[in-house]
Each structure stands twice: as structure tokens, then as C-alpha cells.
């Protein structure tokens, strides 16, 4: 009786020998799927059952419905694409890759496997195929087990099944990608320990490299875009583990912000289609590259190299450089963050890291202590490269900070910053419920207006010409004692972020400072740009206009918020007409007397109810008249609040004591003054302005003119005679009464004396 030499027999044998990995995968899937599902659904059902005891009537119906929906969502979240399954798929991929090919790490095993008549490609295909099968079967079988469980609890639907299937396919793709990368590590190494270490290094290498790049750019450059990390985050990842987690995180963020937290909501799907598909395509390409590399290494690997740390000798040199250089730069960043120095100490630590790292890696590679002192040219190469890169960042050899593109190179610009950003900004109208960060603000904008481009370039160049007035910039430019007048000129300058869209297709992000006092006309050219305006203020949006009938318009004046009953369209048109005059000159000259607030009255989520706020300036005479006709008083002469209503004003100030604490910061102490005299109250109230009408913290503080706060360290609390809540206030620039100035000077003096 002889046997058949069929592929299926070999396949079955391979599966049998890898039984423990199969058992492990299956158990993990079983625990995280049917068992977890059963526990979660049983708990949810118990919760629902208890509702009947606590509620009755329509409240009971409402809560039953809510809990039922929640139960369905829990079910879908648990079995869909989630972080537990990504972790499971990743660990399974690494385990199956290492276990599947660990025979190459043993002489006894290679003697058996390589002497039997099985071709190398067939064996490779068999092991890889079985790995996918082990994971795929374990996952799918347990997923199928969950369907009747869901059906029993009435939460399994066709939509849920489609979502599970999609998640399964996505996860399987992720598994294959991780598996291919793990295979590359397995083929490169000669024992299980280094294979697992290799996998870990491969999977964290790119995220660490990004972190390092981001850290270097943000540490050593002053013109770096403030949200540079976010820009970097938007670029697709090549490492499957990190990419899958980010994809999950993006999808979760999308679904959390979407109506009803539906994991398969349109928002989630559109997010996936927008970014996820591209990311997955890139992952597949990376997996293909790693897969081909793994295959090539499998075919060229010498059998006798089992047990060695790295089986391809030349790759040791490359690996060492690839590990040493980032380690050295990380050390440099660490020194900067801990010792706050970019001088010799940083360089010395970098050199030591390279030398020490070389020694450690050589010991690991050769498994011999004496090896630490060998391969000195390699250590020298690593050192030179590390120092070169560090110097390139430290001394800006690339000219990163000096960069301002030429006007003819720029196709368009996007700008954002204080002075443009305002308290009444809200995310783009159509995405009203989603948080929009700075990157997206810039991404949604592109002005091709030559005048705007020229204005932005001029503002950026002015900052460059002034020696990049920023404490760090001055130091770098060697202007330790920056001329006092210039320093004063740039005091209170605005942080701006810009994206230059070059004609060659590149987009370059930078930050610089804008000095409105010196560049008001240039600043206005940007503020008057239609693209900038329409992007920043959704009131220009066509969708906004269409949604107007469903909206509620309220107007906030100095003390209260009142519903506008005037015809919405008329108010809108009138306001829009006058809002066209909004620019830096207006902000500089006037303070808003009211705030129009557009909102949807029936929004379900009280924590995320979008509002669009627009300021009403005294010069918006038609709007003011319209609102006053509607019974909303917007004008005041001397006092925004009747002084007779005020019982007292508490003033808090922080006084410098010229004493330094251990950290080198000036010690500041709080002193308070209670103003009770009616005359003093009137005097003080004259210079006050309701903070609600100009969000100081959001950027109004940076604007010059009447909105400027007198003393950033002065805080006022109004005490009203009535039980009414007192409005938040600030003191306008140059409006501080004499008694306040005297008190402040006295407080300063007495503090000094007390210390002496």
C-alpha cells in the first residue's frame, strides 16, 4: 500500500503540525466573539428588562427604543472592524509567520524539510496559505456562531451581516499585510527571538521615524507649521499595524460624530472611501513589496545560517545604520527636551549614543562581547550620518526657516491664524457636526488670487526681514538683544499658518507672525479675499442660505440673549451686505455691540449643537436698526451695563516680584481689590466691555485697537445687586482709571518691599 503525493495531503499534514497555533487563534476568536457577544447582549437584555420596572408609558417606550438601538450598535461594534480584532489579526499574523517558518532556525528541522521532495515554492505557498486559512477560518467560524446569538436577541440584521462581512474582508486584508511584513523579519533573522524582535522593530519603525521627524522639525525650526504633526498624520502609513489602528480610529471618530453613532453610517463609509481605500491600497502595495522581499530572502537564504541574528551579512550594515541614526537623533531630542540645550551637550550625547549603540548591535549580531570594538568604519559611518542629519536640523542647512516661495512659483495659498480665526468661526456648514482642526481649515481653502498670494508672501517676507521675531528666532538669528523698538513693534503679533500650493504640485506648510500695526493694508488684502471669506464664514455658503428657514436666529447684546422674530431672509441679506465691510480696519476701529447667533432649534445632541455667531458692529447701521425694531437694544453710550445694578467689582491682578523660583520663572503673586465706591464703580465700568461679544481667549486679545485688553493679568468680577448672572468683562486698552493704576503700582511696590 503506497500513499498518494497530493497537495491536499501535504496541506492537511501542515495544518496538523500547526495545530496549536490553530487552537490558539480559534480560542482567541471564540473568547472575543461569541463569548463576548453573549455576555454583552445578555447584559443589555437584562438592562432592557429592568426598564419596565422603572418606567412607564411613553417614557418606557422611548427608553426601550433607545436601549434596543444601543444594543444593536453594541452588537455591530463588537463584531465589526474594531481595535480588538486588529490586535488579534496582528498577533495571529506574527505568530503564524514565525511559527510557520521557524523550521529554518533549526539544523534538525532543515535536514528533514529540505531533504524531502517538496519544492520550495510549494512549501512557501502551503505555509502562507495555511496561515491565512487558520486565521480566516477561526474568525469566520466564530463570526458565524455570533449570528444566531444576535438573531436570538433580535439585533442581527442584513445590514449588520454586510458590515461584518466587510469588516472580515478588511481584517483579512490587514492580516495578509501584517503577515507579509512579519515574513520579511522572519526571513531576515536566524532565530525565534530575533524574528519576534525584528517584527516589533519593523512594526514600530515607521511610527517612530515619523515621531522623530516631527520632533526634529518642531524642535529645530521656528517657521514650522503649528499643526505640523497633524499634517504628517494625514499622510498615509506604510506599516500595517499602525495604519489599521488609524483607520479604525478615523472610522470610529467618523461614526461617533455621525448621527446615532452608527458604525456603518454614511459618514463612516464616506470617510473610509475618502481615506481608507487609499490607505488600504498603499498597504497592499507595501505588503507586496515586503512579500516579494520575503520571498527573495526565502529563496536566497543559506540553510546553514540558522541560529544567527541576521542571516544576510550585508544587511547587518544597513540595519545598523537604520537603527543607529534614529536612535542618535532621538537622544538629541531627549537632551533638548530635558536639558533645554542645543549645544555641545546635545552633540556629545549623540556621539555617545552612536558608539554605544554600535557596540550593543555588534554584540547582538555576533553574540560575542569582543565584537563591540569591531567594525569601526561602520560605527564611524553611523556617526557621520547622525551628526550630519543633526547639524542639518540644528543649523538649518536646508534653509527651511528662510523659505518664502517666489510669487511666480505659487499657484495658490491658504491662510489661517489669529486675526482671521474668530470667535464666530464654525466648521464648514455641510460638516457642521464634525470637529474641524487647523489642518482641515487650511485644506479646505485655496486662494489663487494674485493679490492675496502677493499679500501673504509679503507678510511672510516681512517676518523674515525682521529676523523672525520670535524668542527662538531671535536667538537663532543671533539677535539676543533685539532692538527694543522692534521688539515693541512685534509685541502682540499674530500667529499665522499658511499653505503654499506651488505650481509644481507641492504643498508647503509654514507658520509666521503678522504684525497688524505695521501691515494693516496687506492684512486687509487677505481678509478681503473672497475665497478666504467664503471659507472662513459659512454665512456665505449656499447651503447656509438654503437652511436658513429651519434655523433659529438669536441676538446677544451686552447683557442678554433674545430671539429674533424679524423675517430671517431680510435680516440675513441685510447683515450680509454690511458684513462685506468686515476687515482689520473695522476690527481695529470698533467693538461689536451684538452677536447674531444662527442655530438649529431641534438638534438632538445638546453637546454638539452647532452655532454660527456673527458680530454686529455699530457701523452695521441697517442691521442694528432692524434688530432694534425687533425689540433688541444694541446701543449703549457710556456703560454697557447700568452702574446702579452693580454692587461691587472684584479686581484680581498678578504682581511680578523680581524673584525667581528654581525653574527660572518669575514668581507672580495674586493681589485683589474690592471696588465698592459707586464713583469708582462707574469709572471702572466706563472702560469695561462684555467679553461675550468678543471672545478674548479665541483671538480677540491679539487684535489691536479698542478691543485690546488693558492688562492681560487683570481680571474683573462684577457683583450685581440682582440675582442675575454677571457678564464676563474685560478692561479696554487705555481705559484704566487712575485709582486702579495707583493701586497696581502700590501693590507692586509693597510686594517688593516685603521681599527685601
Amino acid at each position: 500500500m503506497t500513499s498518494g503525493n497530493s497537495y491536499s495531503a501535504k496541506w492537511a499534514e501542515n495544518i496538523r503540525r500547526r495545530g496549536w497555533t490553530f487552537a490558539l487563534c480559534f480560542t482567541a476568536c471564540f473568547l472575543t466573539m461569541p463569548v463576548a457577544c453573549l455576555i454583552r447582549l445578555t447584559n443589555a437584555q437584562n438592562r432592557i428588562d429592568r426598564l419596565a420596572v422603572r418606567y412607564q408609558g411613553t417614557e418606557l417606550t422611548r427608553r426601550l427604543l433607545e436601549d434596543r438601538v444601543q444594543m444593536q450598535q453594541d452588537y455591530m461594534n463588537l463584531l465589526g472592524f474594531n481595535e480588538v480584532h486588529i490586535l488579534l489579526a496582528g498577533l495571529a499574523a506574527i505568530l503564524l509567520a514565525v511559527q510557520g517558518f521557524s523550521w529554518m532556525y533549526s539544523r534538525r528541522k532543515t535536514d528533514l524539510y529540505l531533504s524531502v521532495p517538496v519544492s520550495a515554492p510549494k512549501r512557501y505557498l502551503l505555509i502562507c496559505g495555511n496561515s491565512v486559512l487558520i486565521f480566516g477560518f477561526s474568525y469566520l467560524f466564530n463570526l458565524l456562531l455570533c449570528l444566531p446569538i444576535g438573531a436570538a436577541y433580535g439585533v442581527c440584521s442584513g445590514r449588520a451581516c454586510a458590515w461584518f462581512l466587510g469588516s472580515f474582508l478588511l481584517l483579512l486584508l490587514g492580516f495578509v499585510c501584517i503577515y507579509q511584513m512579519a515574513l520579511a523579519a522572519v526571513m531576515l533573522t536566524g532565530n525565534v527571538l530575533t524574528a519576534v524582535t525584528g517584527c516589533a522593530v519593523l512594526f514600530v519603525y515607521e511610527p517612530v521615524l515619523r515621531l522623530l521627524w516631527n520632533g526634529c522639525v518642531e524642535t529645530f525650526f521656528v517657521s514650522v507649521y503649528q499643526r505640523y504633526g497633524s499634517v504628517l498624520e494625514k499622510t498615509p502609513l506604510l506599516t500595517p499595524f499602525a495604519a489599521l489602528f488609524r483607520l479604525w480610529s478615523d472610522m470610529t471618530a467618523g461614526s461617533a460624530m455621525s448621527y446615532g453613532n452608527d458604525p456603518v453610517g454614511e459618514n463612516t463609509m464616506s470617510l473610509f472611501l475618502a481615506g481608507g481605500a487609499k490607505q488600504m491600497l498603499l498597504l497592499v502595495l507595501t505588503a507586496l513589496v515586503f512579500g516579494l522581499a520575503a520571498w527573495r530572502m526565502y529563496r536566497t537564504r543559506r540553510t546553514e545560517r540558522y541560529g544567527e541574528t541576521v542571516v544576510f551579512t550585508p544587511s547587518r550594515y544597513v540595519l545598523e545604520i537604520l537603527l543607529l541614526v534614529p536612535a542618535a537623533l532621538l537622544m538629541a531630542l531627549f537632551v533638548v527636551s530635558v536639558a533645554d540645550t542645543k549645544g555641545p551637550v546635545m552633540f556629545i550625547c549623540t556621539v555617545l549614543t552612536v558608539l554605544l549603540g554600535h557596540g550593543v548591535l555588534q554584540i547582538i549580531f555576533e553574540r560575542e562581547l569582543g565584537a563591540a570594538l569591531r567594525q569601526r568604519p561602520l560605527a564611524l559611518s553611523g556617526l557621520v550620518l547622525s551628526l550630519f542629519l543633526l547639524c542639518a536640523f540644528r543649523f538649518d542647512w536646508t534653509g527651511y526657516d528662510d523659505y518664502v516661495p517666489k510669487a511666480e512659483e505659487v499657484a495658490g495659498v491658504a491662510v489661517w491664524g489669529r486675526g482671521i480665526q474668530s470667535a464666530w468661526f464654525r466648521p464648514p456648514f455641510e460638516d457642521g457636526r464634525r470637529y474641524v482642526d487647523d489642518v482641515e481649515k487650511l485644506n479646505g481653502m485655496q486662494s489663487e488670487n494674485a493679490d492675496t498670494v502677493a499679500a501673504v508672501l509679503s507678510l511672510a517676507q516681512a517676518w523674515q526681514d525682521a529676523g523672525r521675531p520670535d524668542s527662538e528666532g531671535w536667538l537663532q538669528a543671533g539677535i539676543g538683544d533685539f532692538p527694543t523698538q522692534r521688539a515693541q513693534e512685534w509685541e502682540g503679533s499674530l500667529d499665522w499658518s499658511v499653505r503654499y500650493d506651488l505650481k509644481n504640485g507641492r504643498s508647503i506648510y509654514r507658520s509666521f507672525k503678522v504684525q497688524p500695526g505695521l501691515e494693516s493694508e496687506t492684512l486687509n488684502r487677505v481678509l478681503r479675499d473672497e475665497t478666504v471669506r467664503s471659507h472662513v464664514w459659512q454665512i456665505y455658503d449656499e447651503a447656509f442660505r438654503e437652511a436658513l428657514p429651519e434655523m433659529e436666529i438669536t441676538c446677544r447684546n451686552s447683557t442678554e440673549s433674545l430671539l429674533c422674530t424679524v423675517e430671517k431672509q431680510t435680516l440675513y441679506e441685510t447683515y450680509l451686505e454690511e458684513f462685506a465691510a468686515y476687515d482689520y480696519d473695522l476690527v481695529n476701529a470698533e467693538l461689536p455691540v451684538g452677536m447674531l447667533v444662527f442655530s438649529f432649534p431641534d438638534d438632538g445632541d445638546p453637546y454638539w449643537a452647532p452655532e454660527w455667531e456673527y458680530p454686529v458692529y455699530p457701523s452695521f447701521t441697517k442691521t442694528v436698526a432692524l434688530l432694534e425694531d425687533n425689540g433688541i437694544p444694541l446701543r449703549w453710550d457710556e456703560f454697557f451695563l447700568d452702574p446702579d445694578q452693580v454692587q461691587g467689582i472684584l479686581v484680581s491682578a498678578y504682581v511680578d516680584t523680581d524673584r525667581y523660583n528654581g525653574g527660572g520663572d518669575t514668581v507672580r503673586e495674586e493681589v485683589t481689590l474690592s471696588v465698592r465706591e459707586p464713583a469708582q464703580i462707574r469709572e471702572l465700568l466706563k472702560g469695561m466691555y462684555p467679553a461675550d461679544l468678543l471672545d478674548i481667549e479665541a483671538g480677540g486679545d491679539a487684535l489691536r485697537g479698542p478691543s485690546r485688553r488693558e492688562e492681560s493679568d487683570l481680571y474683573f468680577t462684577l457683583i450685581l445687586k440682582s440675582a442675575q448672572e454677571a457678564p464676563a468683562v474685560f478692561l479696554r486698552s487705555g481705559m484704566a482709571p487712575e485709582f486702579l493704576k495707583e493701586w497696581l503700582a502700590q501693590a507692586q511696590e509693597s510686594r517688593k518691599t516685603a521681599l527685601e
Partner: protein, 301 residues
């Protein structure tokens, strides 16, 4: 036929095999002897297609064995430390071998297992070293391959078992095309099994001869000549390999067939003459001394 052509292999700075040229003819038991580190295992592993030669070729029936399934189908390699799957039983191993060797004879496998007193369902990890070797040999025989490469396989087998294996080899060779190649550092072990022996030293083949040819063409003669004065003239007529004298007793190692030597001394005037058989060890000592090697150092250290 297995042919090694200028087979060379290095491990790092150590050259394990250098320029080995040898031919293993079909239906012969080939013994590969040499000291530890002589390169026996490396040569076998190259023939088995486990290792890729740095230079030269290991041809199995004219096909390079490395990465060649067609060549590997014809051979079964038993390494010096055979690997069995974790917690596997002989039955499990049979399943595996059945899946990779088309001709694997399961019936005979279980027959041999019972004859050797091995249990199919017992875990191999509980087997003694000798039992594991027996199991490897059984698997090798039942794979029905043309060549069976045994690396130190007979170490650890007791004489009875060795005799048993020998008889099975003989039967297999009668029944089908079968060529066992046995590597060992023990000449005595190979003496009663091999047809052809190759001596490996420092990575190269020092000698490769048929055992019969070796044994038939060299004889040990102990004699006492009646006329001592004619000794020199007599010795000149013989193809001498080695001469020893103890008093009047001459011990000669002489090339030639037993009959020729007996006839030769019958014609001479001798007081005493006896033609003795040489052990393989003695033959090797004599042969290698001719090349200037001290075999005792080579084989016995």
C-alpha cells in the same frame, strides 16, 4: 548514480568540504568514513539537497540535488540527529512521510515497526536514541527511494539490530534498486556492511575504493624464511606495502590476491607461512600510510 564533482562548502571562515570528487554507484553500500569534522555530514547534506554547495555539484542520477524535487524524490536523508515532530508518534511520522513520498509503503512501515518492537502509537519523545535511529531507518526504507543517506545512523544500534538492518538492506537491494550511503567515523561499523568506502579527511576524499577490491588485493603474511640470506631478494619480488620483523618472524602486508600470495610462498623455502585476512582498519592503515598519512591519527585521533 550519485556523483560529487568538485564539491566545496565553507561555513564562515571554515572550509568544511573542499573539492570532493567521488562517485557512488548504484546498488552498492557506500561507506563514507572520516574523523569528526572531516566533512562527512556536510557532503551528505549537500547530496541530500539540504545545503547549497559553494562550488561544484552534487548530482543524483545526473540531476543537481539542491532545490530539485526530481532529485529529492530519489533519496531519503537520515541526519545524525533525526527530527521528529513535537509529540509525534510513529504513526504521525508515517502520515507525514506518506504525504511527501509518493511510494511510501505504509504496510511495510508497520510491519517493520512490529518487527523492531516499536509501537506505532507511542510518543517518539519517549524512545531511546537507538529506537529513534531504528525508526528513521524504517521510514527511510519504506519511502522506497533509490538512495538512502544515513549520517552516523548506525551509531547507537546494538550489534543484533545492526545485523538486522544489514539483512534488510541486503533484501531491499535484491528486490529493487537501492543504494545506501552510510557516513560514519567508525570503520569497524562499516566493515561488514559496505561495498565501497570513501575516506574523507579535512574536507577532501583521501581514498575511494571497493571494499572487496581492497580486501582481495592486500594480504597479511606471517612467515619465517628457511634461508635468511634470500630475504632481501624475496621481498623485492613482492609488492610490499609494509614490513615488520620480530626476531625471525616477518609480518608483511602485500598487494595481490590470496591465491597468488599463497602460491608465491609455497614456491619459496619457508619454515612457517600463514596468509591472514586484514581488517578494514588494517587495510586503511596500510593504504593511507602509502600516502604519507598516519591513519591511526586520522581515524582514532
Amino acid at each position: 548514480m550519485i556523483e560529487c564533482r568538485n564539491l566545496t562548502k565553507s561555513f564562515g571562515d571554515t572550509q568544511a568540504v573542499k573539492g570532493v570528487n567521488t562517485v557512488i554507484r548504484d546498488n552498492e553500500v557506500f561507506g563514507l568514513v572520516g574523523t569528526n569534522g572531516a566533512g562527512k555530514s556536510t557532503v551528505l547534506r549537500m547530496i541530500a539537497g539540504v545545503l547549497k554547495p559553494d562550488d561544484g555539484l552534487a548530482l543524483v542520477d545526473g540531476m543537481p540535488s539542491y532545490d530539485n524535487v526530481h532529485a529529492k524524490v530519489r533519496l531519503f536523508f537520515i541526519s545524525d540527529e533525526p527530527y521528529f515532530f513535537n509529540n509525534a508518534t510513529p504513526k504521525d511520522m508515517e502520515r507525514y512521510y506518506s504525504s511527501v513520498y509518493r511510494e511510501f509503503d505504509r504496510e511495510r512501515y508497520y510491519l517493520y515497526l512490529s518487527r523492531f518492537g516499536l509501537t506505532g502509537r507511542r510518543r517518539i519523545s519517549t524512545f531511546s536514541k537507538g529506537m529513534k535511529k531504528q525508526l528513521s531507518i524504517i521510514a527511510g526504507l519504506c519511502a522506497k527511494t533509490k538512495y538512502l543517506l544515513c549520517d552516523e545512523t548506525f551509531d547507537g544500534l546494538d550489534p543484533v539490530m545492526r545485523q538486522g538492518v544489514k539483512s534488510i538492506f541486503a533484501r531491499e537491494m535484491e528486490e529493487r534498486e537501492f543504494t545506501p550511503v552510510i557516513a560514519s567515523h567508525n570503520l569497524r561499523e562499516l566493515e561488514d556492511i559496505c561495498d565501497h568506502v570513501g575516506l574523507l579527511h579535512e574536507g577532501g576524499v583521501l581514498l575511494s575504493r571497493d571494499l572487496e577490491e581492497l580486501k582481495c588485493n592486500i594480504q597479511k603474511v606471517q612467515c619465517v624464511l628457511a634461508d635468511q640470506t634470500k630475504e632481501e631478494e624475496l621481498l623485492r619480488r613482492l609488492e610490499l606495502v609494509k614490513t615488520e620483523r620480530r626476531g625471525s618472524l616477518l609480518t608483511l602486508t602485500v598487494r595481490g590476491s590470496r591465491e597468488e600470495i599463497i602460491d608465491f610462498f609455497a614456491a619459496e623455502d619457508t619454515l612457517f607461512c600463514e596468509v591472514l585476512p586484514l581488517s578494514l582498519e588494517e587495510i586503511f592503515i596500510s593504504e593511507t600510510e602509502v600516502y604519507g598519512y598516519d591513519i591511526r591519527k586520522l581515524i582514532f585521533g
